[in-house]
Assembly symmetry: C2
C-alpha cells in the first residue's frame, strides 16, 4: 500500500469517534483476510493506535478492558500486516484488509467468529490453527 | 437457516452488551455478503432488534442517532435477508451473513466501505448500485 510507512499520514479529520463503555475517542476496526475476505475480528482503535498501525504496517488496537494500546501478535506472533484500509460512509468504522499470521483469535482459531448460532444453540464452525496453551 | 423464524430463539445469555455514546445494551453487527464475503456495513443492534431479526429473517438494527429500532431497507427496499449468524469469542459482536437486495449504503453503494484510504487521501473504490436521490 502506498505510503503505509509515512508517519501520521492518515485522514483523521474524516473519522467520527465514539465513546464505548466510558472510554472516549474510539473508532471501530473490522479486520478481514485480504485473500479470502474472511472476517477475522472486530476491535476498537483510536488515533494513537492508528498512527502506530500506519507507522509499522501492523495492526494496533486500543484495548477497552486493559485500557491501553495493543500490538496484535505481540506475545503470540500472530501479527496482522495491513494491505488496504477502507472507511465507511459515516466515518465511525474502518475496514482493514490484512495478511494474518497464524490465527486472529486468542482461543486458537483463524477467526474470532468461529462459533455459528443455530437457533438457541452455538456450534463450533471455525478452523483451529494453533494451540493457545502453547502460545499465551 | 434452521429455526430462523422461531420467536426469541437465540442464545442471548452469550452476548456481552456495551454502552456506546451513552446508549446502553448494544452489540455490534458486522454484515457480510453471504456469496462474496464482501463486508457491507457495521452497525449496532440490541436485544429487541435481534428478536425482530430472528422473527422476520431480515436485519434490524438500533439506530444510535435516531435512538430507535430500524428495519434495514424499510424505505429503500434494500433489505438484508439473514443466512447465517456467528458470534465472536468475547460475545460483543455478531457477524451476519446476508443476501443483500440492492445496496447496503444510503449513498447508493453496494457496501458502506466504498472509500479506500491511500496515504492521506480518500478515493472512491466501491461499486455504485443505485441512485440515492431516487430511493430516499
Amino acid at each position: 500500500m502506498k505510503d503505509i510507512n509515512a508517519r501520521s499520514e492518515f485522514p483523521f479529520e474524516s473519522l467520527r469517534f465514539r465513546e464505548v463503555d466510558g472510554i472516549p475517542e474510539l473508532v471501530l476496526a473490522v479486520v478481514q483476510d485480504f485473500r479470502t475476505n474472511e472476517v477475522l475480528m472486530v476491535a476498537h482503535t483510536n488515533r494513537e493506535a492508528i498512527e502506530k498501525t500506519i507507522e509499522t504496517g501492523r495492526m494496533h488496537y486500543f484495548s477497552t478492558s486493559r485500557k491501553k494500546l495493543w500490538l496484535k501478535g505481540e506475545r503470540s506472533g500472530n501479527v496482522q500486516i495491513v494491505r488496504e484500509i477502507y472507511i465507511d460512509c459515516d466515518g465511525d468504522a474502518l475496514l482493514f484488509k490484512v495478511e494474518q499470521k497464524g490465527g486472529a483469535c486468542h482461543k486458537g482459531y483463524r477467526s474470532c467468529f468461529f462459533r455459528r448460532i443455530e437457533g438457541s444453540e452455538i456450534r463450533i464452525a471455525g478452523r483451529k490453527v494453533f494451540n493457545p496453551d502453547e502460545v499465551y
